[in-house]
């Protein structure tokens, strides 16, 4: 099964956020362009390792400080301040998904950075937060006479992303130049795929658990018009005064732009789509993620039309574009604000103008950036230096087959096959950066081997549910005292999977009680039981479950029921039809008393329950009935 990439999933599930780190970036040291000048291969390797772990001292007189990042706290504070200043109390977004009499239409363009070692058109290394301007090739700076060299390896994550989004990968695609002037773009144009993108006609399925608007029901499908590859621009860092610092490490990094069809009807669904796309890209390891860190940016196109116009089949209303939304919340908030603005304009008898608008975090209104007359004519032109990109069917099918299982499929499978709750399935997948689910599979494999089960073919998957519950809840209890499980990415921890499997095997066969099993788990965790010594420990501690006989259970039951006539009478009332529901609670009360009265280590609550129920039916009720 394919592994979800790490923290992304957990943050996505918990907070709807993802950090930029992850994927390949966290795992492999980068070889920088400057390090490549080392004299020997070994030294070069060493240099690159050093570079990734410690900041190098700068040789230049002007030292470059680390990039200032606006802390989230500050952002939130500003957000609250802006809200307070506006004097309005914001309606909760969940209650603000529709406006009666109006239909909202939203299309989204999402930019994400491909997870590759090299830039799109130069062999310079990709990097994040490295020494600024240390990974820059001639072409990245558009040096006169330099030429683009397409790096075919960028196709691998790009095609995986396209497949994860259900797109048809095009056999031939081409690169075009998009012209506009900005200091972060050395060539004066960006190379993108305007006329012939490499992927088209995809779709993303959103479920209720993805956080779509309640109005969209359980499931909604959003079409992807196209996915195109393009270059990133340089990173600008504003300095005091009118000074901007540029880091060309980012220029030329490979991006994909994902363009959806205008099929989104609710603001929350739009945010859910962006989140889902991000999760899908992370799951197939296609992209360097982290919307908040700028790894993923979204532009939304918003239009509204009256419900009666929808019914009359009239075309969509004039749309406006809100650019550069950098958080999921911003996507939802900006759409709500822009929808309300457009409706207000139309209701006042005005006309919505096709224009580009901006949004700042925490505000309540979008602001006009430029109108149609101020639009840049990008003068798209096929790049005369770059040939067509030909993607073979063999590459596509290989990548499709090696992509692993997508998160939705895996969650569905955990729920359907093992009977996990949807919540538990997602929790299992998100814990320990995706290692917990791997641990679960390891435990399950070992357990099935011990039980001699064929795994997939078995219809009875109670052992798997047991394993899942233990991997999730019992293992979780071990860390409550702030100790670490020491989980590795390949799914091993301080409790070896084989030992947990051994414990669960005995538990499943009722050879030990749950209480003993839990104590064993602690012992293994603390290292008191050596690896592979679970059975031995049970033997040594004489912990085997020697269950009471039927007779002994019956005697215990009789003892407990004595003096509980009032409780027994409840069962009689049920039998006589005076009580609608079987008094299960009362039964369990009696079972609990049994457990406390008897030798707990020799009792199984299920057996106790069964005996108690039988005797209630066969002995106590007739006796009570007879008395009255």
């Amino acid at each position: 099964m394919g592994r979800i990439s790490t923290t992304e999933l957990s943050r996505y599930l918990l907070t709807g956020q993802l950090s930029r780190r992850g994927c390949l970036h966290a795992q492999f040291p980068r070889i920088s362009a400057s390090a490549a000048f080392g004299s020997s291969p070994q030294r070069r390797h060493f240099a690159s390792q050093v570079e990734t772990t410690t900041p190098r001292p700068s040789n230049h007189a002007t030292t470059v400080p680390t990039t200032p990042v606006t802390p989230l706290r500050k952002q939130l504070k500003e957000e609250a301040k802006a809200l307070k200043a506006s004097g309005k109390k914001k309606k909760k977004n969940a209650d603000n998904q529709t406006v009666p009499g109006w239909e909202l239409t939203v299309g989204i363009e999402i930019h994400a950075q491909l997870n590759t070692a090299r830039k799109l058109f130069s062999p310079a290394a990709t990097s994040f937060n490295d020494l600024p301007n240390s990974h820059v090739a001639l072409f990245d700076l558009a040096m006169p006479g330099s030429q683009p060299l397409f790096q075919p390896e960028t196709l691998i994550p790009a095609v995986r992303a396209a497949l994860a989004l259900g797109c048809a990968v095009q056999p031939v695609s081409r690169f075009d130049r998009k012209h506009y002037f900005h200091w972060d773009q050395p060539a004066g144009y960006q190379i993108t795929q305007y006329y012939h993108p490499f992927a088209r006609d995809g779709r993303v399925v959103l479920h209720a658990r993805d956080g779509i608007a309640a109005e969209d029901g359980d499931r909604v499908e959003i079409g992807i018009r196209q996915v195109q590859m393009e270059q990133d621009t340089a990173k600008t860092t504003a300095q005091p005064g009118e000074v901007q610092w540029l880091d060309f490490n980012r220029v030329g990094l490979p991006l994909i732009e994902i363009i959806t069809l205008p099929q989104i009807r609710h603001p929350a669904t739009a945010a859910a789509l962006v989140r889902k796309v991000q999760m899908l890209l992370g799951a197939v390891d296609a992209c360097v993620l982290g919307m908040e860190a700028g790894g993923l940016r979204a532009d939304v196109n918003v239009s509204v039309r009256r419900a009666e116009d929808v019914a009359a089949g009239k075309p969509l209303g004039t749309r406006t574009e809100i650019k550069n939304l950098s958080s999921f919340k911003a996507v939802e908030d900006a759409i709500i604000a822009e929808r309300d603005r457009q409706i207000a304009v139309l209701e006042a008898g005005g006309v919505v103008e096709g224009e580009t608008r901006g949004w700042s975090l925490g505000s309540t209104e979008t602001r006009r950036l430029r109108g149609k007359e101020g639009e840049v004519d990008y003068r798209y032109m096929p790049d005369p230096d770059l040939g067509p990109v030909v993607i073979g069917e063999d590459l596509v099918s290989h990548l499709a087959s090696s992509m692993g299982v997508l998160p939705d499929t895996e969650i569905d499978e955990l729920v359907a096959r093992y009977g996990l709750s949807s919540k538990d399935a997602m929790s299992l997948m998100m814990l320990d950066n995706g290692a917990r689910i791997q641990y679960f599979y390891n435990v399950l494999d070992a357990l099935e081997e011990r039980l001699g089960l064929g795994g997939d073919t078995e219809s009875d998957q109670r052992h798997a549910l047991l394993a899942a519950n233990w991997c999730l809840h019992e293992l979780g209890k071990l860390t409550e005292l702030s100790s670490d499980l020491g989980m590795t990415p390949d799914g091993e921890c301080h409790v070896p999977s084989t030992d947990l499997a051994a414990i669960l095997c005995h538990l499943h066969r009722k050879e030990v009680t749950a209480k003993v099993a839990k104590e064993l788990l602690w012992s293994v965790f603390r290292g008191e039981v050596t690896t592979g010594g679970v059975t031995q420990a049970i033997e040594a501690g004489n912990l085997w479950f020697k269950e009471l006989s039927e007779q002994e259970y019956a005697e215990l039951a009789d003892k407990v029921v004595d003096g509980e006539d009032k409780v027994v009478r409840e069962f009689l009332r049920f039998k006589q039809g005076k009580l609608k529901a079987y008094p299960q609670g009362k039964l369990m009360f009696l079972v609990g008393k049994m457990m406390r009265a008897g030798p707990e280590e020799r009792m199984d609550p299920a057996s106790a329950e069964r005996v108690m129920k039988d005797r209630m039916e066969g002995v106590y009720l007739p006796a009570l009935d007879g008395n009255e």
């Binding site: 001639l138 040096m143 006169p144 006479g145 030429q147 004066g188 032109m381 005369p384 230096d385 040939g387």
Partner: protein, 565 residues
Amino acid sequence: MSARGRPRGLHLRHGCLSRQQQLRLLNHFISKAPQPTGQPIPSHFTLAVKDNIATTSALHPSPSSDPPPPALAAAAALPTTCASPFLSTYRSPFEATIVAQLRARGARLVGKTNLDEFGMGSHSTHSAFGAVSQQPSQPPQPQPSQPSQPESAASLLSSLLSAGGSSGGSAVAVAAGEADVALGTDTGGSVRLPAAYCGVVGFKPSYGMLSRFGVVPYANSLDTVGLLAGGVGRIRELIVGGGGGEEGGDNQGLWGEWDEKDPTSLSLSARRRCAREREGYYYPRLEQEREVGEVLRTVTFGIPLEYNIEELDPRIRDGWAKVAKTLQHEFGARVVPVSLPSTRHALSAYYVIAPAEASSNLAKYDGIRYGTRDTDSASDAAGGVLYAASRGRGFGDEVKRRILLGSYTLSSEAMDNYFIKAQRVRRLVRRDFDRVFALDNPLHEKETFDLADLDESIAMEDKWGPEEVDFLLCPTAPTLAPKLGDVMNQTPVDAYMNDVFTVPASLAGLPAISIPMPLSETAGDRTRRSDTAGLQLIGQYWDDARLLAVADAIFKTIETTTSTR
């Protein structure tokens, strides 16, 4: 239109000119490499490089020792200005592949030659370093009593002849004997035209043969590196080599060298595939030893009817006819008329495509990293324009004209009517060539052609159609080198007319060469130094080796038959 910038070559300070002073007057070099000092460095030939080709150190690399220390190399580095104010002080951190390749073959760099800014022009007048001119055979003698009068400078300027463009400086350097070989760039004729005007040989190879890495692009899909020399032999030796056919032999020709840094450089396998379908790449030494007559006897030349335009100078038309007659009657070559109907649209298509690509390529020159920022003008306020003032000040008129032209033809409203249509014309031009050449174009599927499309005047060889040809024989330019004074008074469109015969081969990516063609009479024009025009040979794609062999034979033929002049 005027020669912008500093026309430093046009000021006369002394009445009597030494040869050095005369040469300086021509203004064909932008920078010169220091003369080698100390022990003479073995060098096979001297090389002048057009100043839109990146050079670093002018020091000759000696294979035995380490590269020169960086400080020394930097001191000897020549700027790469493209004759643009934007790059007037630009020194490239890397060297063009073609320069490295020629240095490895024994070239010694003598200097960087003047050109039209970024290669845009036909007379090498649009240069930030002043216009280039070629040496008149009898320079007008200014009166000793009137030194350095503005009038005399102006009159001198108007009497000087255009060197052609945009590789005018390179052509003049070869004509003046200051370089054995000169590098130029040919986008629409920029090597062939100055070669024709200056009476030297100018060769434009098949697109994709010579690396463009380090060549500052004007229009990438048309740009080629071209070679200029006094004769065909030197160029042929460099392109084809003399390795006796073995790959990696003792003298590998440039045709076989792929450059990984240029995405449009043909791959090695494609080079070999193309070469196997052609003559003259393998066993070139044998080829070079063949008799002139033997080479020409088997060749069929096509005379493109559409090139016999009204504007063609009658002296050139006569010379053209005479060469054709000589080839046919004295050397037994076949000469047949052919029709290239798309020719009349080719020039318009070129002047849509090339400026479009130029407008894109020149977007990087914004006054921030290159040139001088115009800080007086309004800055990049919201809605304002950041670079307009700097770019307006930094580019020359011709470059600005082409940027505007290109920006317009690429704009969303004009794209379909101009750029897309021009690309269609370009395809038609290429198909015209494919139809008349006996050889197939190895880069395209073979097409069938409708005889109904042919001009009625074309004679059919048989029921399948007219005779197919090996090479096209035509003039390089419709006129002789004009006086600079006349050039200055031309409209831009008049200047574009000079490219009418050279542009079709550029659009199709075909190899073409201009060799000097003698003219029967020069009509008493006493200021004209050269009584030659350019004779152009165009071959099918990757037929460069045979083209050079045949051009060499014709060049020798002309030399012997006109040795009396």
